[in-house]
Each structure stands twice: as structure tokens, then as C-alpha cells.
């Protein structure tokens, strides 16, 4: 045997992919494609954390060998039925701008909470994700996305940020609960899963919960406390900065900038002056419109605003309370539908509330 023959002999022992492995890979790709409408290069920091959940989800399934589970990285939610894309759009950008101006004014009037030592800022985030499921496939064929089922799950997690923000942050993440099923056998598929029932408690100095696992340092992320401190407060300068951050990501600078604004608002940690600047910056983005006058997320109702692009698969709304100017939450609406998800479905939402607490709860 010459060296090449030996080398090839060595490769004879290499595994072919199992049907499960192929299916999981395909599902990952198709979900990435399905959610790519709202995905941006700039939104990666959020996805990175979520992808951890995704990996765990797949691992758990492989062990159970029952079905394919993939968490969709669209952490947005809302009522189970949402308006169909732009159809219910009730205003042009002037109307959206007015809501945003008012929100900016309201933000300016608010003072950020000041914490005394021992106190924590509690950031309560109610959220829903979509989980994709599929029946066990005994053939070698990749799964047909139309045969897959899905379940919208929700949970409410709490982050505790210490008065000294360089101290230890605590993140309490309870397991997800099923809310809405999509597809004929969705409930059966869900019953076949072995979803985690454990509440995960994660700690991290300065909010770096997964130290060493992130590709970029916390301080370099625009949606970290350090990153937010560096963002311009002048709306136009802020928007220019966001355009720069977005780079040449595929969906265009306006869509990217809106996603970035949403990312920062979602954290619940943006100080009042930054929130005001973000609202004013959003008002400068072409294509930003009111998508629904009264959208309900997590039981609270507000005005839904989004950058509307009907060529995209999904739309991300930010929901603002028009009276107080506070962000109620955000949601993602599937414009075109895919697999078991009908067009117009709210495929995810988050709703954030912040309060000052005198200490950590018993953990």
C-alpha cells in the first residue's frame, strides 16, 4: 500500500451522517433562512447567547432520539394571532414619527433609577420563542419543512444587576412553557420531547455570563452597558453610527439600523437620554411606520412601529406605550409564513420591565 492508499483506507472508517444528524443540520439551516429576514450582522451578540440554547436543545434531542428541536433565534413574541403584515398599517411615517417624538420626550422627563449599595436593578423579561419539531424520520431523507410542527413557548426570566455594575450579575432563567401549537401533530411532537424543567441560574461579573464563550468582549458590544455609554446622544450622529455598525449587512442600512435600535431598547438597560436619542433616530429612518395602533404584548397594549419591507419574510415591531413613551416590548411577525406557521403569525415577543429591588431573592 502506498501512502495515498493507506490514507484512503484510514478514511474508510469515517462515519457517514446519520439521518438524525442530517435532519438537525437541515433544520438549523432552514430556520436560519426562515428568520434571516430579521437577522443582521449587527444583531449577532444577541444570537450568540441564544445559540447556546439552540445547541443545548439539539443535544437534548439527540439524547432522547425522538425529534428534532431547534430554538428559533427570534426572541420576540405576542398574541397568537397578529395582523397580516402591512395590511392593518394605519399610518405613514409621519404618524410613526409623532409616536417616536412623544416617546423621546417622555423618556427625557424620566430619571434613571439610582441604586444604593446592596440594591439591584431587576430586569424582568417575559419572552416567547418558537421551537421547531418534527416526527422521527427513519429514512435518510432530509426533513420537509412543511411536515414539521412548531410550538410557541414562553418564560419570564429575571436579571439582577448590582449597584456596582462591575459586580456579579445574576440571571434566573426558568424553563419554557408551551403556549401555542402549530401543525397537526404539534402536541404529540411536544409530548415526545423531554424539555428542560430546571431553572437555570447564571452568574457573571459585569454581566459577562458566558465568560470566554463570546467572540467579542462585552464592552465592544453596542448593547452592553459599556457599549451604550459610548453611543452618541445626538439622534443624527447616533443614526450615522448605527449605519456604520450595520456595515453592508444584506438587508440594507435602514432595516439594520432599526434592528440595532430594537436590540438596545430590548435590554431594558438603556439610560433615559439614550432611549430618547434612539426614538428620535428611529424617527429619521425611511420606511418606519405604525404597523398596528393597538398591539398587545404580555397583556399590555401599545402602538406597534416597524420598518416595513414587504419583500422580507419577517417584520420586527417595537411596541411603545403612547401615553408614557415607555417601550412595552417587541415582537416578530412572520409576513409570509413557512412550514406550519401561517402568514401573520407572531413568532416571538419580548416584554421588559425594570424595577429596583433591595436584594437578591432566595435562589
Amino acid at each position: 500500500m502506498d501512502e495515498l492508499t493507506l490514507l484512503r483506507k484510514m478514511h474508510d472508517t469515517a462515519d457517514d451522517p446519520t439521518a438524525d444528524q442530517l435532519r438537525a443540520g437541515k433544520a438549523r439551516l432552514m430556520l436560519e433562512i426562515a428568520t434571516s429576514g430579521q437577522r443582521t450582522a449587527a444583531a449577532t451578540s444577541r444570537r450568540r447567547r441564544l445559540r447556546r440554547g439552540l445547541t443545548l436543545g439539539i443535544a437534548a434531542t439527540s439524547v432522547a432520539a425522538l425529534a428534532t428541536v431547534v430554538m428559533i433565534a427570534a426572541d420576540v413574541v405576542g398574541p397568537t394571532r397578529a395582523p397580516d403584515g402591512t395590511a392593518i398599517s394605519s399610518g405613514a411615517s409621519a404618524a410613526a414619527a409623532e409616536v417616536l417624538h412623544n416617546a423621546a420626550l417622555a423618556s427625557m422627563k424620566m430619571s434613571d433609577p439610582v441604586l444604593t449599595p446592596g440594591q439591584y436593578l431587576r430586569i424582568e423579561m417575559a419572552q416567547s420563542y418558537l421551537m421547531m419539531m418534527g416526527p422521527e424520520n427513519t429514512t435518510d431523507e432530509a426533513p420537509d419543512i412543511n411536515l414539521m410542527t412548531a410550538v410557541l413557548q414562553s418564560s419570564t426570566d429575571n436579571q439582577y444587576v448590582p449597584a456596582d455594575t462591575s459586580g456579579e450579575w445574576v440571571w434566573v432563567r426558568p424553563p419554557m412553557q408551551p403556549v401555542t401549537f402549530f401543525g397537526e401533530h404539534a402536541e404529540e411532537d411536544y409530548a415526545a420531547q423531554t424539555p428542560s424543567t430546571e431553572t437555570e441560574i447564571v452568574r457573571g461579573l459585569g454581566g459577562d455570563y458566558y465568560a470566554g464563550q463570546q467572540l467579542e468582549p462585552d464592552a465592544e458590544r453596542y448593547d452592553s452597558l459599556a457599549g451604550m455609554a459610548k453611543l452618541p446622544r445626538d439622534p443624527q450622529a447616533l443614526l450615522d453610527h448605527l449605519y456604520l455598525l450595520a456595515g453592508d449587512a444584506g438587508t440594507g442600512p435602514d432595516a439594520e439600523a432599526f434592528v440595532l435600535i430594537n436590540d438596545v431598547l430590548r435590554t431594558g438597560m438603556a439610560p433615559a437620554d439614550l432611549r430618547a436619542a434612539l426614538f428620535e433616530a428611529a424617527a429619521l429612518i425611511p420606511g418606519v411606520e405604525i404597523t398596528e395602533d393597538s398591539a398587545t404584548v404580555n397583556g399590555r397594549t401599545g402602538v406597534a412601529i416597524a420598518r416595513v419591507d414587504t419583500t422580507r419574510d419577517e417584520r420586527s415591531d417595537v411596541i411603545i406605550d403612547p401615553d408614557t413613551g415607555m417601550v412595552i416590548g417587541e415582537r416578530t411577525v412572520s409576513l409570509k409564513g413557512w412550514g406550519p406557521i401561517p402568514a401573520g403569525t407572531v413568532t416571538g415577543w419580548t416584554s421588559v420591565t425594570t424595577t429596583v429591588v433591595d436584594g437578591l431573592p432566595p435562589l
Binding site: M1, M10, D16, E32
Partner: protein, 197 residues
């Protein structure tokens, strides 16, 4: 029949079309990656390959109809992050291969022992050679890519592929026992039957 290039163009308007590329190439990529980093890491590598490819589909060079070299290039880059795992995997593959060779019941006992020694020497050399040479060699031997395909996958001139491959094969040959290193059996793409003498 759509070419890969057609599919990628189509996916610019209809992103779901991109899924077809997975069906066409995932198994080949997986086997190549599994040979290098083992089955479990291969799952991640191949998954990441397609996410990366989808994200970068606008950069695909449509002069090429077949996306396989491009995908192999992405996979190879991703594998480089798993060097330690690759070394570990080569060690266990060496044991498995030695077992298979023994199981072939071919040739004299001394030949089999020789084959076993050689396979261990081979994997050690493989682990130690320059990463660029190893990539080139394994794309050729395991990925079944042509010189032109490898040049495309690794973004180097074909001449570079040829010289890397020569160097890699020379290095491997030097690590084998004299009887084996004297032979220059094939440059083909099929798996030759075990030799009987």
C-alpha cells in the same frame, strides 16, 4: 437540472431555495469532516458550513457551476478551529484502521503488523505537517476534489496545490517503512482493493 450556481442565484430572491444545496452536498461534507474531527464535531462543522455559506452566498463566484469546492473550502476553514480534536481523532482512527486492516485477513501476518505500524506513523505525520499541506492532501484524498477544485476551495493557484500535494505525499512516504515507501501505486480517485502480495 439546476446547477448549484442557479440555486444560489435563485436564493437571492427566494432564500429557501438554498436548502437544496444542503441536500446535494451535506453528506459528502460530513464524511470529509468526520474523517478529520470525528462524527460529533462534524455535525457542528457541517451545520456551520451551511449557515456561513448562506450568509455569504452573495460572494459566490458564479463562474463555477458546482458549489462543492466552495463549500469544502468553508468546511476546511472551520475545521482549522478544531486542531486538537483532529489530532485526537487521528489517533483513534489509526487504531480503528489498524483493526480493519487486520480484519481483512489479507496477506501475511508480518504484512499486517507492518500496515498497522504504518497507519500509526501516517497519522502522526499527518498531525504534524503544515496545516496548508494537510488541508490540500485531505481535500484530495478524502474530499475527492480535483486540483482545480482544491485551488478554488483554498483560494490558491493550481500550481500551489500541486506542490503542496507533492510535498505532503513525500512527507507521508518518508514516514512509512521502506517497502511501502518504494511503491507509487496510484494517483486515481477510487479506493484500490487491498493488495495481496
Amino acid at each position: 437540472m439546476n446547477t448549484d450556481s442557479d440555486i444560489i442565484r435563485q436564493s437571492e430572491h427566494l432564500p429557501t431555495a438554498f436548502g437544496e444545496l444542503y441536500d446535494r452536498h451535506a453528506s459528502h461534507l460530513f464524511r470529509y469532516a468526520a474523517g478529520r474531527v470525528g462524527s460529533s464535531a462534524a455535525e457542528d462543522v457541517v451545520g456551520d458550513t451551511f449557515l456561513t455559506a448562506f450568509e455569504r452566498r452573495a460572494t459566490f463566484d458564479h463562474e463555477w457551476e458546482n458549489a462543492r469546492p466552495w463549500l469544502f473550502g468553508i468546511t476546511t476553514t472551520l475545521i482549522r478551529k478544531h486542531r486538537r480534536m483532529e489530532a485526537q481523532n487521528f489517533r483513534s482512527v489509526a487504531s480503528a484502521t489498524a483493526f480493519v486492516i487486520n480484519d481483512d485477513r489479507v496477506g501475511e501476518v508480518s504484512d499486517r503488523i507492518d500496515a498497522e505500524r504504518n497507519i500509526r506513523a501516517l497519522t502522526k505525520t499527518l498531525t504534524r505537517m503544515a496545516a496548508a499541506d494537510r488541508d490540500t492532501l485531505l481535500l484530495y484524498a478524502w474530499g475527492d476534489l480535483t486540483y482545480e477544485d482544491i485551488a478554488l476551495a483554498l483560494s490558491v493557484p493550481v500550481g500551489t496545490v500541486r506542490s503542496r500535494l507533492n510535498r505532503a505525499r513525500r512527507t507521508l512516504r518518508a514516514s512509512l517503512s521502506p517497502e511501502h515507501s518504494a511503491q507509487e501505486v496510484d494517483h486515481g480517485r477510487t479506493h484500490p482493493a487491498p493488495q495481496n502480495a
